[in-house]
Symmetry: C2
Subunit: 703 residues, 2 copies
């Protein structure tokens, strides 16, 4: 059903204050103006998929509720008589709702066409004359409709509608930024800010984390959804972060002699499958090209999932003498892993950007030193650029890179879900690949001695880092970006201009704003100004907060007179007056450093306070449910690790604690064996099998 006909349908059912396509700023401004006199309630629409035998078609459950209602899956399950409902993935949503994305589903996505194939669970709080803001079927649009009219519309579609009182649900935890919002709301432009901020991001980070994450990325213009499932568009706001990371990392790796290169994205089956352990890990996800134009290719050709097997035949060709070592190549490219699991922007996508370094060395010592050096730089990208704390360590045998010797990793932590996340990995491949690909050199001790196999490393960091950064820092008002990577570090906004302001003051403020922008730019600050006449300062504040700009500079007639500006930090809302003297630029730059440091410290404290030391497996699930990761003595055994995962998964299910609907597994996986180890108590036993422990290992639910 087209958007137009949906509107017509609605119109039949009562008074409708409708407004088409408020996708951009201009139109939001108009809506806000229209809506500011009326009071309205935000709504949310979620699609759940019940557990369904493979032989049957699933019947999705569409939950339509006030945004303020807490809608746990347990209540949804009961109301819809649905087994184990989880948030539906993009493919299922697309299938039932005309190809749209989960974020685009709204009450009006329920139509006569799909009504018989779904169930609707309706929040009992949706009733009466209350004006509701709902999406038609595009997250970038909003219409306003009376609650009763919406109910009538839903019944008219023919869908099975069950009304449920969600107030019985436990209260949602207070959003961390709520007090700050209240504070901002107390400022001069409160009404508009509050409204804009709410309409910017309409779901709460703590209540619907996946929904929040989708909105924060799309509305913050970091990313857009794409019509090939599992692929996403990196918009300038996120790509510019990637460019900063590229520059930072390039400088470092080039200092140790790494050179950039580009190998083809295609790889023949024969070459791809050369290293057995390695390909086993990737085979199910490899995308195959089988046709060109209208011709079938003689042999299918794979798109690289990673380039070990693409590159190493040429390493064998190029490396003959020990003088050809070390060979250190890196490429910035995209790789394809056709995952069938639920895709997630930046974190799990079918095509993603990364760098992959591949080096060959004469000795293990040299290879090992490089592995650790690269890992340090990965840590530094997280700590020093993204203000995200990570823990360096080694992967267990279970989790190491298939076909490699050992894997080192930096592991991050997402406070909202309490899950660990692999940040980047630096592998020592040992001589395994060099033996497979015959990468050898003459023995430096003489040609009569046996040839030596090269020691190899590979290391990679992907655009996943951007997703981790967003998840850690951002809040209900939008993105929060660390100054060192923000595309725009500060925005200068003219303020305090009223109908009474003299033309002279108006001109002085406008000129001042541009002067400040110019001054900052000249000093290398990524600054901009917002002198658009058709927006109120409050609207602009909300808009730039949504985009995560670290520092807002306000400048009005009073500031002009006092030769000062008011600066407001995005991370904590703190307001300061800064004089426009000779130290102005330096003060702003110091502020950036302070923000950067504070953001890191806040995230670090959150991580540190959620690392729990445990000695028994019984403590696992209760701690995991408190969003902790666990540091436990471990034997290092592969079977023992599998066993820990199974047992904690089962225990978790028994406890009915499965709150996060997208967890690929609720069991505790090892994240890493941290380099920084607490002392192992004498006679310490492995938390899994009770055998003597070898070291502490970090366990957690993970992405």
């Amino acid at each position: 059903m087209s958007l137009e006909s949906q509107f017509k349908n609605l119109a039949i059912h009562g008074d409708v204050l409708s407004h088409a396509a408020p996708a951009n700023n201009d139109e939001w401004a108009t809506i806000l103006a229209a809506a500011s006199s009326a009071s309205f309630e935000l709504t949310k629409t979620l699609v759940f998929k019940p557990k369904t035998p493979k032989s049957q078609d699933p019947v999705p459950v569409v939950v339509i509720a006030l945004n303020s209602s807490n809608t746990p899956s347990s209540i949804v399950a009961k109301a819809a008589n649905a087994k184990d409902p989880r948030l539906a993935n993009a493919e299922l949503v697309a299938q039932f709702f005309n190809g749209i994305a989960p974020t685009d589903v709204g009450p009006l996505s329920v139509t006569a066409e799909n009504a018989t194939k779904i169930k609707v669970v309706l929040d009992a709080a949706i009733a009466g004359d209350a004006l509701l803001a709902v999406r038609p079927s595009d997250a970038s649009k909003t219409v306003f409709v009376k609650a009763d009219d919406l109910v009538a519309y839903l019944n008219e579609t023919g869908a099975e509608v069950v009304t449920v009182d969600f107030t019985a649900a436990p209260a949602a935890p207070a959003a961390p930024s709520a007090p700050k919002q209240a504070k901002t709301a107390a400022s001069k432009d409160d009404g508009k800010i509050e409204g804009a901020a709410l309409i910017g991001i309409t779901v709460d980070k703590e209540i619907d984390f996946p929904g929040w994450y989708q909105q924060i990325l799309t509305k913050g213009e970091m990313l857009d959804y794409y019509d090939v499932s599992g692929c996403y568009i990196m918009r300038p706001a996120s790509y510019s972060i990637w460019e900063i990371i590229q520059e930072y990392f390039n400088e470092r790796i080039k200092s140790i002699g790494v050179q950039n290169t580009y190998f083809p994205m295609f790889v023949s089956a024969r070459v791809l499958e050369k290293e057995k352990d390695h390909i086993e890990g990737f085979a199910p996800e490899v995308a195959w090209v089988t046709k060109a134009g209208k011709s079938d290719l003689e042999e299918p050709i794979a798109i690289r999932p990673t380039s070990e097997t693409v590159m190493y035949p040429y390493y064998a060709k190029w490396i003959r003498s020990h003088r050809d070592l070390p060979l250190k190549l890196n490429q910035w490219n995209s790789v394809v892993r056709w995952e069938f699991k639920h895709p997630q922007p930046f974190l799990r996508t079918r095509e993603f950007l990364w760098q992959e370094g591949h080096t060959a060395h004469l000795t293990f010592e040299e290879a090992n030193t490089e592995v650790l050096q690269i890992l340090e730089w990965y840590e530094s990208i997280y700590h020093d650029l993204l203000a995200v704390p990570v823990i360096r360590g080694k992967k267990t045998e279970n989790e190491k890179f298939a076909g490699g010797h050992f894997t080192t990793t930096v592991e991050g932590y997402i406070p909202t879900t309490g899950r660990g996340i692999q940040g980047a990995t630096s592998h020592c491949l040992g001589q395994n690949f060099s033996k497979m690909f015959n990468i050898t050199v003459e023995n430096p001790e003489g040609p009569e001695k046996p040839k030596l196999f090269a020691w190899q490393n590979s290391w990679g960091l992907s655009t996943r880092v951007i997703g981790v950064m967003v998840m850690v820092h951002s809040d209900n008002k939008g993105l929060v970006l660390p100054p060192r990577v923000a595309q725009i570090q500060t925005v200068v906004i003219p303020c305090g201009l009223t109908a009474k302001t003299s033309d002279e003051d108006r001109r002085a403020v406008k000129e001042g704003v541009l002067d400040i922008e110019h001054l900052l730019k000249k000093a290398g600050v990524r600054a901009t100004s917002d002198i658009r006449d058709n927006y109120s300062p409050g609207w602009k504040f909300a808009d730039w907060e949504l985009r995560g700009v670290p520092l807002r500079i306000e400048y009005g007639p009073a500031d002009h007179k006092k030769k000062q500006v008011v600066v407001v930090r995005r991370d904590n809302g703190e307001k300061t007056v800064v004089p426009l003297g000779e130290n102005f630029v330096a003060t702003i730059q110091e502020l950036f450093e302070t923000i950067q440091k504070d953001m890191f410290t806040k995230a670090k404290n959150s991580f540190d306070s959620h690392i729990k030391r445990v000695d028994t497996l019984e403590e696992f699930v209760p701690a995991l449910n408190k969003k902790c990761v666990l540091l436990a003595p471990f034997c290092g055994g592969m079977e023992c690790e599998d066993d820990i995962k199974d047992r904690t998964a089962r225990q978790g299910q028994a406890d009915g604690e499965e709150v996060d609907d997208k967890a690929p597994s609720m069991g505790a996986k090892s994240l890493c064996i941290p380099f920084e180890q607490p002392e192992l108590k004498e006679g310490a036993k492995c938390v899994g099998c009770g055998e003597p422990a070898k070291f502490h290992t970090l366990f957690g639910r993970s992405y």
Copy 2:
């Protein structure tokens, strides 16, 4: 037949001085040392394909000759009784010779297995006891064999061997660099230089341009051949040039508000096919992914051949108000065009790197200004970075971008083949795509006025630029790189150290070399030094010349005493003494600028002197055969242009002038309508149809 068994075979036939796998510098050095006492002759092996009716299988002709013999296809045709033989393409060679590349074919590629399917034409000069350097079947290896033994081997395979006296052939034109080689040979290290230089590049640019191009790229380590046909590896020596171009162009486009972004490489058939004219141009070359792991995809998904249709649905979504314009995005990515024509490194490859800019504007004027601005920057990349002259102009209707409004282009010229080559294009798409994709904005004059369609541009520059640069500048000694893009701008080499040199002098020279390197690096010069003990200075000279390093700095005990260095230019061999005083670094930097300018001027003179103004079609073919491009009055008609191409192609064939065996077409194509136009004579007639001419157009054979 394996390499090992080939060697065994040879061994049966006589004394063999064999040396396996001299792929790298160390081993070449060993060979040279071994061979320096003996005298040996280089050989070449070429595979020709005669003109063959489609119903028949071709019988390749393998020509085995001394490297110094001139082997024109006319003599080959007569000897082998083969019609119109041309150098065989990679696919044919792979088919007959076990999958190897044309550059890898050697005499030993003729085996009992393929002997009956081919003909062999043998240079009569290959006879007697002379020691020959031949390739087994890998360009990176060389073996030495007596001429008679080779003849016996060939006869033994069972192949039809015709012996031909090539001395009857007209002498090959002197290679342009031959006098310079002679000059270098007169220097102290003559023997080794000469040998190394010859062994570096074994085919002459003027005689076998495609063979020379392959060697120059692979031996100069710019590129390697890859086991998926039409795909190549960009090694650091070429990728670093691409990085310099990226930095240069990014800085410029960002100054006009262009932002970088990344769209997925996959595109659904539905979206790809939205713009009919556009897709028609690309459809036969689109690669399709149809499988992931072992599952068939529901719908085949294309890999982008270009991103107009990938991006524009989102432009329609993002652009609502005129305030959202201009939207200027660019991406650095790879695209795939599965060409079935003969692939050529950098020039025509199935995957290639490029940037594609896509912008949307409110007015034609703004779009038009940008199209021309971008074209200027493209020109500047050629002129100011690559020292390659290009001509700016507009494409004719026949040659413009499918689905666009008009196309502007920079056109280059390859002196050795006399062909034009498209350098980069900047298209104004008009409103064609915005109408297809519904990219509209509200009319700034008011909502009651009709919506406006955006004016769009797209513009792209690919790694082809590197191929053009190599073809224009490089010579028979190897690559010649302009200093502004060379990965290594200068190399410092210790010289004049003999057995009599005192330890003190030896140490002083070595320290001096490192000091000079350090001094230059500190000033931002991309310098290196070559203090390897196991190579002679002469060997090093040849090695760095092969790699195209613009300036060599020689430093010996005498230089140490006089506080000076000797510098040698790669482009013209000029030697100068430069004092190591306070102006040293500045002098070197000036020299770079001089080299850069001289390289451009030389190439510009060559281009200019081959632009011939003609008024009749009869003058076309003789001028084309003199390696000219033609400036002729033209009506601009599409059919007339087709007609010119056909007629000049037919005339060329009748004249029997088809010397370049890989020309996709010998007809004259329009290259561009140059912006800089000579005055059109009164009553000037179109060179094709005799109707009134509208402008001058540049025609030529082209890539």
